[in-house]
Symmetry: C2
Subunit: 234 residues, 2 copies
């Protein structure tokens, strides 16, 4: 196997591994003993799910959040010694709306090979299933919490959706999903289209697209504990 920094996606929620990860990932993961992770406990749990016999006690875990950025380069020492390193985040794909980009940047800088593996990306799956423009789209992360700043940002994203035909994605902390949904209905134009994509790949999966005016007549399910992406399009 190639000596490289492998970017290892995990499931989104309680989905079976075989539903969202290619069999190939198993073979790659089984050959790795050094992991840079967002959270050690959940990374161990994931590795046990991938293979009950994964030699966790022979593996080394480096937690990303706990150290200053300068330490990242020490995480990559196994690569210098010819050993592969894996990156694992809490949900979905590392380094996309999740930590990991810093350690990848250092690997790129030092000239190590970086190999991304396939896995579930709630963002891409939301764009696919939204019916909104997939030829141009932007992921904007979290919006400001302050009400008027948020409304201003929503308006700016709506303008971009209309003027550039660019679908605009944003996320919110689950317990604030209801509030975000109401702010969107309150702020955007009646003809603007909104896709609410929640619990992607899980039993709770809910992906629906309507105009703002139609959403005002629709009963939204309780999304207060479900990771949700909001997509704004024209």
């Amino acid at each position: 196997m190639e000596t490289a920094l492998y970017l290892i996606p995990v499931t989104l929620g309680d989905t079976p591994i075989s539903q969202v990860l290619p069999a190939y990932n198993h073979d790659i993961i089984m050959n790795i003993r050094h992991f840079v992770v967002e959270n050690v406990r959940s990374a161990r749990r994931f590795l046990r799910q991938v293979d009950r016999d994964f030699p966790i006690d022979d593996s080394t875990f480096y937690e990303m959040g706990k150290h200053a950025q300068g330490d990242f380069s020490t995480y990559l020492k196994p690569l210098q010694q010819g050993m592969p390193v894996g990156v694992i985040s809490e949900a979905g794909c590392p380094a996309v709306a999740d930590p990991g980009a810093d350690v990848v940047a250092i690997a790129q800088q030092k000239g190590f090979r970086v190999i991304p593996l396939v896995g579930p990306s709630s963002m891409i799956m939301a764009v696919m299933a939204s019916g909104l423009n997939g030829q141009s789209f932007a992921f904007n992360g979290y919006l400001p919490v302050d009400e008027s700043d948020r409304a201003k940002k929503l308006k700016a994203l709506e303008s971009r959706a209309w003027n550039e035909s660019q679908t605009q994605l944003l996320i919110e902390t689950p317990y604030r999903n209801r509030k975000m949904f109401e702010a969107i209905l309150h702020t955007l134009r009646p003809q603007t289209r909104l896709c609410v994509a929640a619990g992607i790949t899980t039993a709770d999966e809910y992906i629906h697209t309507h105009s703002i005016q139609d959403w005002k007549r629709i009963q939204l399910p309780d999304l207060s504990k479900i990771p949700t992406i909001f997509l704004i399009g024209r």
Copy 2:
């Protein structure tokens, strides 16, 4: 199996199915007999790769490109009769930088369930492996062909990368990759970072990030036949 419009990703190039698609997709696909496809020949080839015994002769294929948008609703008739329908594009994920969004939009409008499956997205994998900001990024598709329009657009994307910390993705027709690469080096600031992500998941995979000034000293491989994503970041 649920009656739904299933969005079925395919491989990017000559990659084995098991490297990039979860086993689950096989089980879903085996239960579908109606497909809305970008190209009938390549869709049939894909289904044969998924399973040598796939009953292709018992299946119906609707080619997206060949008909006016109005016909899309007829493609969805099987859904009204309780039968699942699959959407397959030429490479990667349908409806993302690929046709399919129109038929998904109609399914959403008519209230059919739309279920995206996991597969390789060159865009997400490029963001993952670039080391550039993955908390905010935009996919912009193709840029204008005209030289001065293209330079203007590149400048605008660079501004957005710096001012909004938003990584900017763009693609080019492979035989023009060299020209695009040169235009980028010529147009952007020395400190701006560029990731060239080519042939993702294939034997030709090449994903490297450098500053513009460093790229000027680097020999780029021949990418004239390899699908490539350019990522601009700060």
